[in-house]
């Protein structure tokens, strides 16, 4: 909102950065609670509902309600993880052992920089995306940086100096390599489509959303409708890259006792999960931007249309601040829905076997992505001729 707040760009950048971190970190934290609640609900039990700070128990209705909802378990978990004893096994490489969870934080929170999470209109009616760095390499940056997250797992697996973590790390690596290809190939049709010949090309994620908010039937259609195979391949690869069930080979408790985090405990262990959730958040953000229309509320109803409707209620609707907040709220709602889908799938599908994971990656998804790319390349070439 640079033209709105009139602040020094660096100060503004810091403020925006803090705001984003302050949103992502709690989301990642709340996810751990949401995971427990959603798993409980799907399994037909109420889930965590006991923790309550003493003075809260006195609040008549809200206190017990929040207790039943389990919101205090977040604090309880955090407190427990912070204060419980955190032994470091004697046989590990201490420096890298300590470093590994921290390394994971870096890519998890760096990718947010290029993910636009909202938009507003300036005086001239141009759409300005709310993003820390609206760079043209947007998507490439996400892919490049987010895959660095696997270094954390490799480091953890190697530094733990024991077999299960090591196997987990190896699995994480090969899984990442296998699915990164399919993932990248699957999004190419989108960018082929939005970069018409003769224009200056861009991989910016904001451009993709812009493209999905045009008028008309084909303009307003989200890419999930026009490119379902791409969306599917991307989604499956996303599950695999964020190590979510059914692809959580690197940790799989059943055969690897927890994989890369076997030797970890307390806060270091929880950092791995904050990383995983931050990855999921950013990953689903990218998926939403690419295929689910970003901050547009509904397919064929763009943010501008919605603002147009709301303007009938009053002039405040067109205020950049309101538009910005509205777009962010829409975007975060979509992200939360996606995170729910992650958890929902987790309790639906059993974990794959490792060879199946490899097979799906190389023999199914990759050819599918390539075929999809070829079909769309030919189709787009014919359409644009």
């Amino acid at each position: 909102m640079s033209d709105f707040f009139q602040l020094h760009p660096i100060l503004l950048g810091i403020l925006k950065g803090l705001a984003v971190i302050l949103v992502i970190f709690p989301i990642a934290g709340v996810c751990s609670l949401a995971e427990r609640k959603v798993s409980a609900w799907i399994q037909g039990r109420p889930g965590p509902n006991r923790a309550i700070p003493p003075w809260f128990a006195w609040v008549p209705v809200i206190g017990p309600f929040l207790q039943r909802l389990g919101v205090f378990h977040l604090m309880a978990d955090g407190g427990k993880l912070l204060f419980k004893e955190d032994p470091i096994p004697g046989h590990v490489n201490k420096f890298y052992f300590m470093l590994a969870p921290l390394v994971g934080l870096v890519p998890a929170f760096t990718t947010v920089v290029v993910v636009p999470f909202g938009a507003y209109f300036d005086q001239a009616g141009h759409l300005i995306p709310l993003v820390l760095a609206n760079v043209d390499v947007g998507l490439l940056a996400v892919f490049a940086v987010s895959s660095l997250g696997v270094y954390s797992l490799i480091l953890a697996g190697w530094a733990s100096n024991s077999k299960y973590p090591f196997l987990g790390a190896v699995r994480a690596t090969s899984q990442l390599v296998s699915y990164e290809l399919a993932m990248t190939l699957s999004v190419l049709p989108v960018f082929l489509w939005i970069n018409a010949p003769g224009m200056s090309g861009s991989l910016s994620l904001a451009r993709v959303v812009d493209f999905q908010s045009q008028a008309g039937f084909w303009g307003g259609a989200w890419f999930v409708f026009t490119m379902p195979i791409s969306a599917f391949v991307f989604l499956v690869s996303l599950f695999a890259e964020t190590n979510r069930q059914p692809f959580d080979m690197p940790e799989s408790e059943a055969d690897l006792v927890g994989g890369f985090h076997t030797e970890y405990g307390a806060f270091k262990w929880s950092l791995f999960f904050v990383n995983e959730y931050a990855h999921m958040t950013v990953g689903s953000g990218v998926f939403i931007l690419l295929f689910l229309g970003g901050w547009n509320p509904l397919p064929w109803v763009s943010l501008a249309t919605l603002i147009g409707w709301l303007s009938h209620l009053g002039a405040w609707a067109a205020h950049p601040l309101f538009v910005g907040v509205l777009s962010v709220v829409i975007f975060i709602t979509k992200i939360i829905t996606m995170l729910f889908v992650f958890m929902w799938v987790r309790w639906t599908l059993p974990r794959f076997r490792y060879d199946q994971v490899m097979k799906i990656g190389w023999q199914r998804l990759l050819p599918l992505a390539i075929a999809n790319l070829i079909v769309y390349t030919v189709g787009i070439a014919l359409l644009q001729k």
């Binding site: 959603v38 609900w41 799907i42 399994q43 037909g44 039990r45 109420p46 929902w344 799938v345 309790w347 639906t348 599908l349």
Partner: protein, 179 residues
């Protein structure tokens, strides 16, 4: 029995992609998300324990409110992990609960040792010790996990007595045939 060979049908294309199956699975799990909860919320709700359940061993009194245990120490002897420790003692002749000569002065069962085998209940000639429905034995220290005599009686209460062995014995004695 006739053996009916069932041909395994080749999977259709849709089945081989697994997508319809996964989606229907997600539909099922989503229904469970909305379904009423089936969990018993333990400390407030407790399951019905079937009769004959072998929980914590307890001492019981007879319907006259007298101790049944005669501190014969058979249970102490038979207890495989040596969880029972009994100090036998006399009952003063003028005690209102007097019906036999002896009763335990102290009767401790260390629940950290007890394996809930039920041998003490089997061996007791007086039907004084029963493994009852108490299944939540917890404590914060080792000392708390030792059930002393009064605690054992408190847990045990009174069970219906079918024999009234000592009453019959007394009646027989009064009739002049002690054995």
């Amino acid at each position: 029995m006739a053996v009916i060979p069932v041909d395994r049908k080749p999977l259709s294309f849709a089945e081989r992609t697994y997508m319809p199956q996964i989606l229907s699975g997600m539909k099922i799990t989503f229904k469970h998300l909305m379904a009423p909860k089936v969990t018993m919320e333990y400390p407030e709700e407790r399951p019905a324990i079937p009769a004959g359940y072998r929980g914590v061993p307890t001492l019981v009194k007879d319907p006259n409110g007298r101790e049944k245990c005669v501190s014969c120490q058979l249970c102490e002897f038979v207890c495989p992990p040596k969880a029972i420790r009994i100090t036998p003692g006399e009952i003063p002749p003028d005690a209102p609960t007097r019906h036999v000569e002896k009763a335990p002065q102290a009767f401790d069962i260390d629940m950290l040792r007890c394996i809930y085998c039920g041998l003490c209940q089997e061996v007791c000639p007086e039907e004084a010790i029963f493994l009852q429905q108490q299944y939540t034995m917890t404590g914060y220290s080792r000392e708390e996990m030792v059930n002393h005599k009064d605690r054992l009686y408190e847990l045990g209460g009174t069970l219906p007595d079918e024999h009234y062995k000592w009453d019959k014995k007394k009646a027989a004695e009064e009739h002049g045939n002690a054995h």
